[in-house]
C-alpha cells in the first residue's frame, strides 16, 4: 500500500538562467529546522519569526564557507502559499550560486519539489480549488503568449460545465440501473440494453472530443515537439540555428530531458514549437553512440512531427535511406528538407516519392519561409483542436479523464456481454472520475437519487 509522505520540499522558483536575483522556495514541516542549520542572520532579530525578512548568509555547516549572502522571508502555516511553513530565499542570480544553495538545502533534509508541488500542497491544504490550481500552474509555466491565453481560457468554467453535463448524463443512467439492481420488485422499468448502449456510445463520442481537446491543450501547453532526423552531418544543427536565428528574442533554452538532445522553442504561426536536434542516425559504431541513437529513437517516438534532413549536395547514402524508411514508418506528420540548396543538387526527387522535399540553404538563408509555411500547414492538418476548443488539464485530471473514458468504453462495449452489476461498477467509475476532472465531488450517492426519482415501495 502506498503511504504518502509529507516531506519538506525546495525548488528554484524563478526561471533558469542568469538574472539579478533568484528565488528558492522551501515548504513543509522542517522548513525552519533546515534553515536554522544553514542560514546565519546578520541582525539581532531572533530567527525565525513569522512573516519577517532577514538578511544573512547561507553557509556550508561543515566548513563554514559562505555560499551566498541573501534575503530570507518567512511564512508560517497555515497562512502561506502552500498552507505549510514556508520560506523564500533570495540569492544572487548566478546559476552556480543558486544551484549550490539548493544543493545545501537538499543535503540537509529538503527534497527536490516536483513540478507543481507547491501549488498541489496549496490545494491539499484548502488554499485553492482544483481548476484554480491548474490555471495557476499553467500560467506560471506559460512561456509564450498563446499558452498564457490558453491558461486564461480555463478560468471561465466552460470545460467544467461540460464535464458536469456529461457526468450528469452518465449518472442518470447509473441511477436507473442501480434502482433496478437494488429494488428489483419496484416496477422500475427494466434497462433496455440496446438503448443504453446507444446512449452510452453517444456520450462516449462527446467525451472523446473533449479528451482530444485536452490532448491538444496538453500538446500546445507543452510545445509541439518536432524532431530533426538525419544522418550525421546532413546539416541538422545548422538548419536548427537557421530556424531560430530569425527571432532570437523568443528563444528560450530548455534543459533537455536527455543531455545529448538539444531543444529550442520558437513560434510557428501562433503555435509554440520545440525543435529537437537529435544525434545522427546510422548503424552504431560503439556503445556510446548506440545510446545516443537509442535516445534519438525515443525523441522521434515522442515527437508530434518529424523533419527529415538530407544533404542535397550528395547522393543519398544507405544511412539516408534508413532515415527515409524511418520517416515513412513513423505514422507521424513528416516534412523532408534538402539542405545545402546553394550547392549543385545530387539527389533526385523520385527518391523521396510521397515525401517531396523542400529545398533550403541554411548557409545562404534560403527557403525558411517555405519551411515555416510547411510546418504551419502540417500543424493545421494534424487534427489539433483550435485554440478556442483546447482544454488544459493537470496531470491528475488527465489521469482521471483517461480512467473515465476507459470505464465508459468498457461499459459501452460490455453491455449485453457483462452482467448489469458489473456495468454499474463501470458507470460509477466513470461518474466518479469525471467528478475528479472538474474537482466537483468524488462521492456518487446513487441511493438518495434513486429515492428522488423513483417511487420505491415494495
Amino acid at each position: 500500500m502506498s503511504k504518502p509522505k509529507i516531506g519538506t520540499i525546495a525548488a528554484v522558483s524563478t526561471p533558469a538562467g542568469r538574472s539579478a536575483i533568484s528565488l528558492i522556495r522551501i515548504s513543509g514541516p522542517d522548513t525552519f529546522k533546515i534553515l536554522k542549520k544553514l542560514f546565519i542572520t546578520g541582525g539581532k532579530k531572533a530567527f525565525p519569526l513569522p512573516y519577517s525578512v532577514y538578511f544573512g548568509s547561507v553557509i556550508e555547516p561543515e566548513t563554514g564557507l559562505v555560499a551566498d549572502k541573501c534575503l530570507v522571508t518567512t511564512f508560517t502555516a497555515p497562512r502561506s502559499y502552500t498552507g505549510e511553513d514556508l520560506a523564500e530565499v533570495s540569492t544572487h542570480g548566478n546559476p552556480l550560486v543558486v544551484s549550490r544553495v539548493l544543493q545545501l538545502l537538499l543535503k540537509h533534509g529538503a527534497v527536490a519539489a516536483e513540478a507543481g508541488e507547491f501549488t498541489r500542497r496549496a490545494f491539499l491544504n484548502g488554499k485553492m480549488d482544483l481548476l484554480e490550481v491548474e490555471a495557476v500552474s499553467q500560467l506560471l509555466s506559460a512561456n509564450t503568449s498563446s499558452q498564457a491565453r490558453l491558461a486564461l481560457n480555463q478560468l471561465d468554467g466552460l470545460p467544467s460545465q461540460f464535464v458536469a453535463k456529461i457526468r450528469g448524463q452518465i449518472l442518470h443512467h447509473l441511477v436507473q440501473l442501480e434502482a433496478s439492481l437494488n429494488f428489483p420488485e419496484d416496477a422500475i422499468e427494466a434497462i433496455d440494453e440496446h438503448l443504453l448502449a446507444r446512449e452510452l456510445k453517444k456520450i462516449l463520442a462527446e467525451l472523446e472530443i473533449f479528451a482530444r481537446n485536452a490532448r491538444s491543450g496538453a500538446l500546445v501547453a507543452d510545445g509541439l515537439k518536432i524532431a530533426l532526423l538525419g544522418r550525421p552531418n546532413s546539416g541538422k544543427s545548422s538548419l536548427m540555428n537557421y530556424m531560430l536565428g530569425r527571432d532570437r528574442a523568443i528563444v528560450t533554452e530548455i534543459a533537455g530531458t536527455t543531455r545529448d538532445t538539444l531543444e529550442e522553442t520558437l513560434m510557428v504561426g501562433e503555435y509554440p514549437v520545440r525543435i529537437i536536434d537529435t544525434a545522427g542516425m546510422r548503424k552504431p559504431g560503439d556503445r556510446i553512440e548506440a545510446i545516443g541513437i537509442e535516445r534519438t529513437t525515443k525523441a522521434a517516438d515522442e515527437a508530434f512531427a518529424l523533419i527529415g534532413v538530407f544533404d542535397g549536395s550528395q547522393p543519398l547514402t544507405a544511412e539516408d535511406r534508413l532515415v527515409l524508411e524511418r520517416l515513412r514508418q513513423s505514422g507521424k506528420p513528416v516534412i523532408t528538407v534538402l539542405n545545402k540548396s546553394d550547392m549543385p543538387r545530387q539527389v533526385s526527387p523520385e527518391d523521396f516519392a510521397e515525401l517531396p522535399p523542400l529545398s533550403v540553404s541554411a548557409l545562404k538563408g534560403q527557403g525558411l519561409l517555405a519551411l515555416q509555411t510547411s510546418i504551419s500547414k502540417l500543424i493545421a492538418e494534424s487534427g489539433l483542436s483550435g485554440y478556442e476548443e483546447m482544454i488544459l488539464l493537470g496531470a491528475q485530471q488527465s489521469v482521471a479523464l483517461d480512467k473515465a473514458l476507459a470505464a465508459l468504453e468498457r461499459a459501452a462495449r460490455g453491455i449485453g456481454n457483462i452482467y448489469q452489476d458489473m456495468l454499474a461498477i463501470d458507470l460509477e467509475e466513470a461518474v466518479r472520475e469525471l467528478g475528479r476532472v472538474n474537482g466537483e465531488t468524488v462521492d456518487v450517492n446513487t441511493l438518495d437519487l434513486i429515492f428522488e426519482r423513483f417511487c420505491i415501495g415494495k
Binding site: M1, P4, I6, N182, P184, A187, N417, F451, G457, K458
Partner: protein, 635 residues
C-alpha cells in the same frame, strides 16, 4: 426454587434482534436472561411476511455463516422461496422467502426454550440500573430487579410507542401489543439521547374476499435453495404463490378524497420514517402523476386466512382504508380484518453506538434493531447477533468483533449505523456496499465461517465441512490457472465448435472461463479433463464460475479494499503526540481524539479529513504501523 436474580447477559425484547442476541450469548456460554413483554409474540413479524431480498438476503446468509438462527428458522417455516435479480448478476442476486409468520414464531420459541444457559421470562422493563457510567441491571414494572454484567436492549418499535390512525391516536405497540413505558425516561436520565421515528403497516384482508383472477400470480422457485449453507441445495416442492395487482385512477381518487385525514396532512406524527416503504398517501403526494402503483398480495402463512397488502401501507382512518383497498383491481370486495396503522416510537439519536453495538454513553450497554434506527427484520437480527457476540467477548475480556465492511454486509451495516446521520431509518441494500462484487451471496461462508468458528458459534464439525467445501472450490480455482490450452489445430477446432474466439497463444483454464458464454464444463472439455476430476456439485461450480468470471472486476476493488482495511485497523480515539499532527486542522485533531468515530476509515468516509490530512496521518501512522499491527495481533 427461588428465582435467579443475576445474569451475565440480559437481553430485553424478544423480537428478531433480541432472539439472535440471546441465542448468541447463551450459545457462547454466558448465563443469559431474555425478558419479553409477551411470550406469545416472541419473534413476531408485525409487518411484512417476508425475509430476504437484495442486501437483506445477503445479511441472512451471513448470519447463518456466523452461526446465527434466522436462516435456519426461515428455511423451515417459509411458504415460498424465490430468487431475485437472477439475470442482473451474481453480486445482486438474492433469495427472498415468504414466511409463515405463525410457524416462524413457534419455531423460534422452541429454539429459545431448547438452548442451554438461556432463560426466558415475561416482564416489562421500566428502568436501567446504571452506576458510574456502567450498566448494572434492569428494573421491572413489578418491582423485580435483575442484575447483569452486560445488557442488550432491543426495544424495536415499542419504546414509548403511539399508534396513529387518522386523527385517532393512543399509546400502543405494534399489533395491539402494549407499549414500553418508563424506559425512555430511564435512558434519558442515564444520558442517552432519543429521537422519534415512525413507520406504518398496511391493512390485512380476508383471503376469501379477494378475486385473484384479476391479479398476476407470482410463484416461487422450486430450486432456490435455503438461506442456511446446509440447505443450499434444498428443493421447495410445495409453495404458495403471491399475487400482484395495481392501483389505478380510482385508487388515486380514493386517496385524494381522504387525504385530509392522512397523518401526513394532519401532521400529527413525525416525518422521519423509512424512505423505502412510503405510505400510499405519501406516494400519491410525492408522485402526483403516477397512477399505477404495485400492490403485492402476500399470504401470512400456510393456513392463514389473512393476506398482507404490500404497497398499501397507511395510517389513514378505517373508512379511508376501506375506500382505498376497495379501489384496487381484485380487491373491490375485500374485507379488512386488521386495519393498517402508523406507529411512532423512541429510537436512539445518531452517533451513540459503536460498531460493536455497544453504547458510546453507557459501558456494558448494547442496543440492536429498530431502536438503533434501522428498519427490517434482517437488519435487526444482524445487529442482535453482533451485539450478543460482543457482549460475551467483552465479558471474557477478549478483543471485540468488528466485522469489516470490506468483508461483509454485516460489516457495512454496523459501520454505517455507527456513523449514520440521516433522519430516516437505515435499510441495507447492495447500494450501501461499495465492495459488493466481493460480498456475494455465494461467498458468505468463505468470507465468514472462519470468524464464526473462531468466535465459537460455528462448531468444529460444521466448520470442517464448510472448510472442505470451500477448499474444493478454491483448489479448483487454483488448478484452473495452472492448466493451459495450447493453440493446436485440434484445440482451435474445439473452440470453434463452442462458437468462441480463436486461440493465438496458450491460454489458462481461468482465461478461457473468462470468455463470455463459456462454462466450467466447456473449459474442462477443452482441456480434456476426465469427468471424475471435475467439480460436480451445482453450487460449487457456480461459486467457481462466478469467482473467475468476476475476477477482472473484483480485482479493481482489491486495492480499495486493502486501503479501507488499513484505515479500519486504526482505531480511534487516537493519542496525538506527534508534533507533525499539528499540520491537521484543530477540528480534525479534536475528532481524532474524541469518541465520535470507531476508526479512521469512518472519518475518511465522512469527509472529516482533507486529502492532505489523510496523507499526513498515513505517513505519520505508517511509521509506527508495525507496532500498531503487533498490537492488533495480541488483542
Amino acid at each position: 426454587m427461588s428465582q435467579k436474580k443475576e445474569y451475565a447477559v440480559i437481553v430485553v425484547g424478544a423480537g428478531h434482534a433480541g432472539c439472535e442476541a440471546a441465542l448468541a450469548a447463551a450459545r457462547l456460554g454466558a448465563e443469559t436472561l431474555l425478558i419479553t413483554m409477551n411470550i406469545s409474540t416472541v419473534a413476531l413479524m408485525p409487518c411484512n411476511p417476508s425475509i430476504g431480498g437484495p442486501g437483506k438476503g445477503h445479511l441472512v446468509r451471513e448470519i447463518g455463516a456466523l452461526g446465527g438462527e434466522m436462516p435456519r428458522c426461515i428455511d423451515e417455516t417459509c411458504v415460498q422461496m424465490k430468487w431475485l435479480n437472477t439475470s442482473k448478476g451474481p453480486a445482486v442476486r438474492s433469495r427472498r422467502a415468504q414466511a409463515d409468520k405463525y410457524l416462524y414464531r413457534q419455531r423460534m420459541l422452541q429454539t429459545l426454550f431448547a438452548t442451554p444457559n438461556l432463560t426466558l421470562r415475561q416482564g416489562h422493563v421500566t428502568g436501567l440500573l446504571v452506576e458510574s457510567g456502567r450498566i448494572k441491571g434492569v428494573k421491572l414494572e413489578t418491582g423485580l430487579v435483575f442484575a447483569c454484567e452486560k445488557l442488550i436492549l432491543t426495544s424495536g418499535t415499542y419504546l414509548n410507542s403511539r399508534i396513529i390512525l387518522g386523527r385517532a391516536t393512543w399509546p400502543g405497540g405494534p399489533q395491539n401489543q402494549s407499549p414500553a413505558i418508563g424506559l425512555s425516561d430511564s435512558l434519558s436520565a442515564a444520558g442517552v439521547r432519543l429521537r422519534r421515528l415512525q413507520t406504518a403497516t398496511p391493512p390485512r384482508i380476508l383471503k376469501s374476499s379477494v378475486d385473484i383472477n384479476m391479479m398476476t400470480e407470482l410463484p416461487g422457485d422450486i430450486d432456490a435453495g435455503g438461506f442456511l449453507w446446509e440447505n443450499r441445495l434444498r428443493r421447495y416442492e410445495k409453495q404458495i404463490p403471491c399475487y400482484l395487482t395495481f392501483t389505478d385512477e380510482r385508487s388515486v381518487e380514493a386517496v385524494r378524497r381522504n387525504l385530509s385525514e392522512s397523518p401526513l396532512v394532519l401532521e400529527n406524527i413525525t416525518d422521519d420514517g423509512p424512505k423505502h416503504c412510503p405510505s400510499i398517501d405519501r406516494k400519491i403526494i410525492k408522485f402526483p402523476d403516477m397512477v399505477k402503483h404495485q400492490v403485492f398480495v402476500e399470504p401470512e402463512g400456510w393456513d392463514s386466512q389473512e393476506l398482507y397488502l404490500q404497497g398499501l401501507t397507511t395510517g389513514m382512518p378505517p373508512s379511508a382504508q376501506q375506500d382505498i383497498v376497495g379501489s384496487v383491481a381484485g380487491l373491490e370486495n375485500a374485507v379488512i380484518l386488521r386495519y393498517g396503522y402508523a406507529i411512532e416510537y423512541d429510537a436512539l439519536a445518531p452517533g451513540q453506538i459503536r460498531k460493536t453495538m455497544e453504547s458510546r454513553v453507557i459501558e456494558g450497554f448494547y442496543t440492536a434493531g429498530q431502536l438503533n434506527g434501522t428498519s427490517g427484520y434482517e437488519e435487526a437480527a444482524g445487529q442482535g447477533l453482533i451485539a450478543g457476540i460482543n457482549a460475551v467477548l467483552a465479558l471474557k475480556k477478549q478483543a471485540p468483533y468488528w466485522p469489516s465492511r470490506t468483508r461483509s454486509y454485516l460489516g457495512v451495516l454496523v459501520d454505517d449505523l455507527s456513523t449514520w446521520e440521516k433522519p430516516e431509518p437505515y435499510r441495507i441494500t447492495p447500494g450501501h456496499a461499495e465492495f459488493r462484487l466481493t460480498l456475494r451471496d455465494d461467498s458468505a461462508e468463505r468470507r465468514l465461517a472462519a470468524d464464526g468458528f473462531r468466535i465459537g458459534l460455528v462448531d468444529p464439525e460444521r466448520f470442517s465441512t464448510i472448510f472442505a467445501w470451500s477448499a474444493r472450490i478454491e483448489g479448483e480455482i487454483a488448478r484452473l490457472s495452472t492448466l493451459s490450452l495450447l493453440p493446436s489445430g485440434e484445440a482451435r477446432e474445439r473452440l470453434a465448435r463452442l462458437a468462441t474466439g480463436d486461440l493465438k497463444k496458450p491460454a489458462s483454464g481461468a482465461e478461457l472461463l473468462q470468455r463470455p458464454g463459456v462454462t466450467y464444463n466447456d473449459v474442462m472439455d477443452l482441456l480434456q479433463q476426465p469427468e471424475n476430476t471435475r467439480l460436480s456439485a451445482v453450487d460449487e461450480v457456480y461459486a467457481l464460475e462466478t469467482e473467475i468470471k468476476y475476477r477482472g472486476y473484483a480485482d479493481r476493488e482489491a486495492e480499495k479494499i486493502v486501503q479501507t482495511s488499513f484505515l479500519e485497523r486504526i482505531r480511534l480515539p487516537l493519542e496525538i503526540s506527534d508534533h507533525r499532527l499539528n499540520l491537521l486542522s484543530e477540528q480534525s485533531r479534536q475528532i481524532l481524539s474524541s469518541c465520535r468515530f470507531d476508526d479512521l476509515s469512518q472519518m475518511v468516509r465522512k469527509h472529516c479529513l482533507t486529502r492532505s490530512e489523510i496523507a499526513i496521518l498515513l505517513s505519520v501512522l505508517s511509521e509506527d504501523g508495525d507496532s500498531q499491527e503487533r498490537h492488533e495481533e495480541t488483542r
